[in-house]
Symmetry: C2
Subunit: 459 residues, 2 copies
């Protein structure tokens, strides 16, 4: 339990109204999207860089762990206060500081909600591509810490590809600046990218410099129904092999489709056993040509039906299907493990076949959907934790899924991160030497192991 | 001087024919494009990862510094053996190991020459965008170590944007793998990007996994002559402000034009005082439209003449002008300091005005050209070192140029790196706290300061 003099010092730093030790507040900050719970001793809402710096110095002096947190929407437990201590939330640092229309650069505080930022830049004809499913509530700080992805990453890359610079409070309380508003910069080590995806273990972001793009003139959304999962998976390879990188190449298997069918008013022929949602964007004249070419390429692969949205509303209807997936899945089983392996694109069919075998072996429903265009498959292992033995089966199945992805040159996580959810599996993917290199960096920068301890690596 | 038992051990590791202590060989590996010279004690040509690992273990045991080297074409002294010791060149590790056409990924050894790699992937309809001016001889390993840029980076980004994974020998001789062939991956810290631009101080790359793009269908090159430098600089801002990101936006000032005029057969009206070379690429039908739009945007800004290449040969003629710049400059003065500051794009006109003032203050010709599209200006400070006092004036002018760029939110280097050339100026750009964070990483990973010591930071 964090002692009273520490609480008093925190109140002195941020003001009494920004510190809470109330049970109700602590519960609010005890969980994330993994549904695991760890009660912090105290929740702090700093509003300035200087306050965060002072909190980190205090934490080091007192050897009290600090767990930085955005919206707590992560899927791997990266923000969970696993050792009690201080939850430091950046929610109240939520200002868009600048949108520089001449240089296509923005500067924000970490607590800005992703969708609100996207809307703000789109208003002036600019574009921030990363679009994690959580964008309505997740924060840009959290997105950077976990290196969030999303459907549009097929064409546009992930969060880190848009981060030019940062202001960061280090684990020991120094304030550093990395990168800056220029498109290039090679003076010193690239700490900006090191920070991206470091899951809040190497520093706390207090300012984020973001690269923007011109907003594409238009987009075209297609819903393509296939008679087999294999056809859809092959279509992904075929499109890329034809040197086309669409904006999105989202995929849902037959079981996902069944769930969505039950939960929504979606009318889909029974013959459809897989879906691809394909979107292209860019110059208006160019869109039709590209959509036609894609339709042509995939036609021989068992296409049951192709629907091309002609209006913005029709496009939104198609996306509504994709967005309803997560909620729909609960129909299969109450509990799910949402993994997000990533394999080379051409290996998607093989990976899907491997998952089918695993599902059969362990008699567990596994539902697959996700960003097939970059080989990033969301593998949902559906169980009922109340049923004895189900949890153990799920854990074995997850390990098999990870091993399968790694055997195809893939990774255990494309966008969710390691956190605590995958920390035990790290040795499957990272050699002891590579892990040592990473841990050496962490240990040197955070000698007291104060900042988000126990994440990524168990020890 | 490296002792004879170390030489013997090196011969045992790589074979006697791959180790040289001959004066002639040592001289060959004593310099880079900065024209500074430091004689190594021994030059080693390893051919395998394991050999490099053993060399690093030996170097640590013997406390002998190791200086990794690609083609030695760097502009900042990153590969110079400033403390004698071992030059470790990766020239003989020059194999393209794989071009995966289905997944748009290649795997290469570090010694592959950049242009040869580009040609190999273009043969199969793929595209590796980074195009440093040194591409005919520089190696991909060197490009990654320095995070090389080039004209096409305006649209396509720099070297690091194409590096998905690495095999690296650490400063202590471990072999680690970072990233991999997938488009996404968030398991552990992003060591791949940390290694990019770390100037050979954090590890020696032995394998590089590269992301490729589909080769654009076509391109269109335009040479635009302006009546003033200000008009050309404003044109860059105007194009970007209109939400167009061309493939290249290369710029040359009047003095550069004068040099090129003298050295080549280029016919240019006297009224032309600045040039932009603008290239767009992509879908064939789209190119004309985009070129027309650009011509329209920039017309009011003092355009003297616009030449649009209609054939590949005409495009090459335009690029030949750009490529002849470096050689032509020698006409002004025999010695030049080639700096490569980078400022936010909209600040290019202001930066050019600042440089004019500096040139006047110190009575030194300063010639500017470069990648205006991303604000990356090659500032060439032209002197004759034989003339007493010229070198000192140049040094002062360089510092003023750096300060000017930094005052506009820029950086001292967009693509050349720090090496030894800019190490003394580091405190102008990087705060002591940020430098400490970087040096803490280096110190932890290279406790004996064996790998490329004295680069980036003087101490």
């Amino acid at each position: 339990m964090t002692e009273s003099h520490i609480i008093a010092a925190l109140k002195e730093i941020v003001g009494a109204d920004k510190v809470s030790t109330e049970q109700a507040d602590r519960i609010c900050y005890s969980y994330d999207a993994t549904q695991q719970k760890f009660l912090p001793d105290v929740v702090v809402h700093p509003t300035t860089t200087e306050q965060i710096s002072r909190i980190m110095r205090l934490a080091n002096a007192e050897k009290t762990p600090v767990f930085p947190r955005g919206a707590g929407s992560g899927f791997s437990g990266g923000s969970l206060p696993t050792k009690g201590g201080i939850v430091l939330t950046t929610e109240q640092m939520d200002q868009i500081l600048e949108i520089d229309e001449e240089n296509l650069v923005a500067v924000v505080q970490p607590g800005v909600v992703t969708e609100q930022f996207q809307q703000a830049v789109e208003k002036v004809g600019l574009f921030y591509p990363p679009d994690p499913a959580s964008l309505k509530f997740s924060t840009l700080g959290g997105n950077v810490a976990e290196c969030a992805g999303g459907p549009r990453c097929v064409k546009y890359g992930v969060t880190k590809d848009y981060i030019l610079g940062l202001e960061v409070v280090t684990p020991t309380g120094d304030v550093i600046t990395t990168g800056g508003p220029t498109m290039k910069g090679v003076v010193g080590y690239d700490l900006t990218k090191l920070m991206c995806g470091s899951e809040g273990t190497l520093g706390i972001m207090t300012k984020i410099v973001i690269k923007l793009l011109p907003l594409p003139e238009g987009k075209k959304t297609m819903l393509v129904l296939f008679d087999s999962i294999d056809g859809a998976a092959q279509a992904v390879s075929a499109i890329v092999r034809n040197k086309i990188i669409p904006t999105t190449l989202e995929f849902m298997d037959g079981r996902t489709l069944d769930c969505v069918r039950q939960a929504t008013s979606l009318q889909v022929p029974e013959a459809a056993r897989a879906v691809l949602i394909i979107e292209v964007d860019g110059d208006l004249e160019f869109l039709d040509k590209q959509a036609r070419k894609i339709a042509e390429i995939i036609q021989p692969l068992g296409v049951v039906e192709t629907r091309i949205a002609e209006t913005h509303e029709e496009s939104e209807e198609i996306w509504q299907i994709r967005r309803s997936v997560s909620a729909s899945l609960r129909k299969v089983n109450p509990d799910k493990f949402n993994e997000d392996i990533c394999v080379p694109r051409s290996k998607v069919p093989e990976m899907i076949r491997k998952i089918d075998v695993i599902a059969e072996t362990y008699s567990i429903p596994i539902v697959n959907f996700g960003h097939a265009g970059d080989g990033n498959i969301h593998v949902n292992i559906m169980i009922d934790k109340q049923v004895p033995g189900e949890l153990e089966k799920a854990e074995k199945a997850i390990e098999e899924v990870f091993k399968g992805a790694l055997s195809l040159g893939g990774t255990m996580s494309g966008e969710h991160g390691v956190g605590i959810a995958k920390a035990a599996y790290i040795p499957l993917e990272i050699t002891p030497e590579t892990a040592l290199y990473m841990k050496t960096i962490k240990k040197a920068l955070d000698p007291n192991n104060i900042l988000n301890p126990g994440k990524i690596f168990l020890d």
